[in-house]
């Protein structure tokens, strides 16, 4: 006779039972870790842990389950808890909560607690079809259990008149083993409330961040940057010892007055300790850049003119973000411009001053309008066009491309010789030949040539992106040419050919 099965609590999140919600489920695991450090993630949306210790600490299994489901509800995730002897029964209990059962409902809390010793009773009422559910073989933890997963086995039991696990458990083990083999034996043990495998808990996540405190607060940035180099070495050693690297690293600096400055830097396992210290320097520089009318050029020293940083820095912390296994780095062979260190340093220095989004790299992509054919991507991020390049994009204006493309189209007034506004009907018929162009209060320009309207009606299936417009090219008497469009009855100047 084996030892009594331990008390196990299973948490089931119906909304997260898919591979795409792994990150959300990871947050759930972290929340559960606050109550019980040793948690096993059984499958996406299902986790399990030993209930005995935490239940005693938090005042009972029901109270524990109520606290955990409440904590997870704060994350916006719905969950159900089940407590029973053994992993298999606890899992079935957690799944059973969803079904309304008058005899076991415990208030509004989605928890089903099977009292100790009464697990076989609970199991006996379960239909044999539960054996066909996906994770059951994983719960049994035996090699032969793979056979259980098939729908066939449960269907066979039903055809033989064994409708509940209780019916199966009532048979003698020898008969079941001789008739159904190893799979049957496993199912029989599960049905009697035995044979669940022990929990395989994951160790709590290690804190890989490193920090340095400054006491007294360090008013100058130079010593902080110096400490940052040693800190970065410690962080890299910690990551390397575990065979890990990080995609990004977060630098947090806390001032004596409580203000905190945090910024994420691209790492990708490529930054040396000195390079990371440079990032810290730039970040501190950027933080301290005051707002004078005209700045000075030499921003290399990291302090404001009076050499202080608002009371000084108390803590500098480096936090690896998105920790991944270190798989080495392969430089691009071709098809991708390698950004030299010199350029990267310059770009990141500007990013440190103005923010991540301030330094962009243009990516040429597909699209029908000039503005949508260029996507600007912040420096350091993956360059990928928003719209496919290879597609034909009928409706593009062929020929010359405007050298000036306004980020926001300028509103304009286009009038005919009589002084009336030129309009375009829904069938793209123009009311009169455009004769004058006026924009931004500039004196009107005489239109000496024009072409259009070229209609464009795209993405009608998506109300947010749908557009209907008629485009024109206009030539004015100062020798310049303009790309204009009529949209919603208004004239817009999108760019200038000059």
């Amino acid at each position: 006779m084996s030892a009594p099965e331990p008390r196990v609590m299973v948490l089931y999140c119906p909304g997260l039972a898919g591979p795409r919600t792994a990150r959300a489920f990871d947050q759930v695991l972290t929340a559960v870790t606050a109550f019980c450090p040793a948690v096993e993630a059984v499958e996406p949306g299902v986790c399990a842990f030993g209930a005995r210790g935490p239940a005693r600490y938090f005042g009972g299994e029901t109270a524990l389950a109520a606290r955990i489901t409440a904590a997870i509800a704060d994350l916006g995730v719905e969950s159900q808890a089940g407590v029973a002897d053994g992993l298999f029964a606890a899992y079935l209990a957690a799944r059973a909560v969803g079904a309304p059962r008058a005899d076991t409902a415990s208030g509004i809390c989605p928890v089903l607690v099977i009292p100790p010793g009464r697990t076989p009773e609970f199991l006996a009422r379960q239909p044999v079809s539960v054996l066909a559910r996906q994770p059951v073989s994983a719960l049994a933890g035996q090699d032969a259990a793979g056979d259980l997963a098939g729908q066939d086995f449960a269907a066979l039991l039903s055809r033989l008149g064994l409708h509940t696990l209780g019916d199966l458990a009532a048979l003698s083990p020898d008969d079941v083993a001789s008739r159904f083999g190893a799979a049957g034996e496993t199912a029989h043990r599960l049905a009697r409330g035995l044979g669940s495998r022990p929990l395989a808990v994951r160790p709590p996540a290690e804190d890989l961040s490193v920090a340095q405190e400054f006491d007294p607060p360090e008013p100058l940035s130079e010593p902080v940057v110096f400490a940052a180099k040693a800190l970065a070495e410690r962080m890299h050693e910690g990551l390397a010892a575990r065979g890990l690297t990080c995609v990004r690293v977060q630098v947090r600096a806390v001032c004596a007055d409580g203000r905190e400055n945090r910024r994420l830097w691209r790492h990708d396992g490529l930054l040396s300790a000195a390079a990371l210290a440079d990032r810290v320097r730039w970040q501190l520089d950027g933080w301290q850049v005051p707002a004078p009318p005209v700045g000075t050029i030499d921003g290399t020293t990291g302090s404001t003119p009076d050499g202080t940083t608002d009371g000084g820095i108390v803590v500098l912390r480096l936090v690896p973000d998105q920790v991944v296994h270190a798989t080495g780095h392969q430089l691009a062979l071709w098809g991708e411009t390698v950004v030299s260190d010199r350029v990267a340093r310059a770009a990141m220095r500007v990013q440190a001053m103005l923010g991540h989004e301030a330094v962009l790299r243009p990516v040429l992509g597909g699209g029908r309008d000039v503005a949508e054919q260029v996507n600007d991507v912040p420096f350091g991020e993956k360059r990928q066009p928003r719209l496919a390049v290879g597609a034909p994009w009928p409706g593009r204006i062929m020929g010359a491309v405007p050298g000036v493309v306004y980020p926001f189209a300028r509103e304009a007034d286009v009038t005919d010789d009589a002084g009336d506004a030129v309009t375009v009907t829904g069938r793209c018929v123009i009311s009169a030949a455009p004769a004058w162009l006026a924009a931004d209060g500039v004196p009107p320009l005489r239109i000496t040539g024009w072409a259009g309207p070229w209609p464009l009606s795209e993405r009608w299936w998506d109300p947010a992106a749908a557009r209907r417009r008629a485009r024109f090219q206009l030539l004015t008497d100062d020798g310049r040419a303009w790309l204009a469009a009529v949209q919603d009855g208004r004239w817009l100047i999108e760019g200038g050919y000059c």
């Binding site: 700045g295 921003g299 411009t337 350029v343 500007v350 103005l354 330094v359 491309v401 493309v405 040419a481």
Partner: protein, 234 residues
Amino acid sequence: MAAEVSRSPVSQAADPLRDGTLPVLPALRDGTLPVLPALRELLPRGGLARGSVVTVAEFGLLILALAAGASADGAWCGIAGVPEAGMLAAAGLGLDAERTLLVPDPGHAWPQVVASLLDGCELVLLRPPAQAPAQVRQRLEATLRRGRGVLLVVGDWPGAQVRLRILTQGWTGLGDGHGRLRACCAQVTADGRGEAAVTRTRWLWLPAEDGNVSAAEPPDIPVPERHLQVVRAG
């Protein structure tokens, strides 16, 4: 380096007299960034002298074309203060979008931003958000000489070595309600200080029908009659 030499103006098989420039010593050629062939005649050394400031009166295809030659040759180009830069047109002229950094809004700290960009890029195209005080200009020029880069400025920059502007331009291809823009013929003039003191004026297709920049032959110039008269008079 060999590739650059073979692409520079005088080492090509064409005779230097046709280029309209004096033969350039190889040692000096090293001190320039290459430009598109059609623009060589406008610049005193047939290229953008390293450490110099070149201004163009207005932002447009001309300044993008000036940057395109060096960018196509492998230089990184930073564009600061020009949110409306048409990168599609620039790419058509030869500017490599892969090697371009955009800082659309450098803000009040623009001198530091430009100095940082000059550390990384050989070519920086700038439209200063405000008139630069003399002190700021001198410090940026010192940074420029140290880094051996080139600063292309939209607008005015006292002390610029070369100043370019478009005198007149005319588009072809557009009729009265029909056609489409095909090519633009522009009269570009360059003057400046020192060796650039001689005013040079050229007619260019900016862009030509194939999207490139090329020199325009007088018979092809499709500019209204009054402009042609001006050219004869000048």
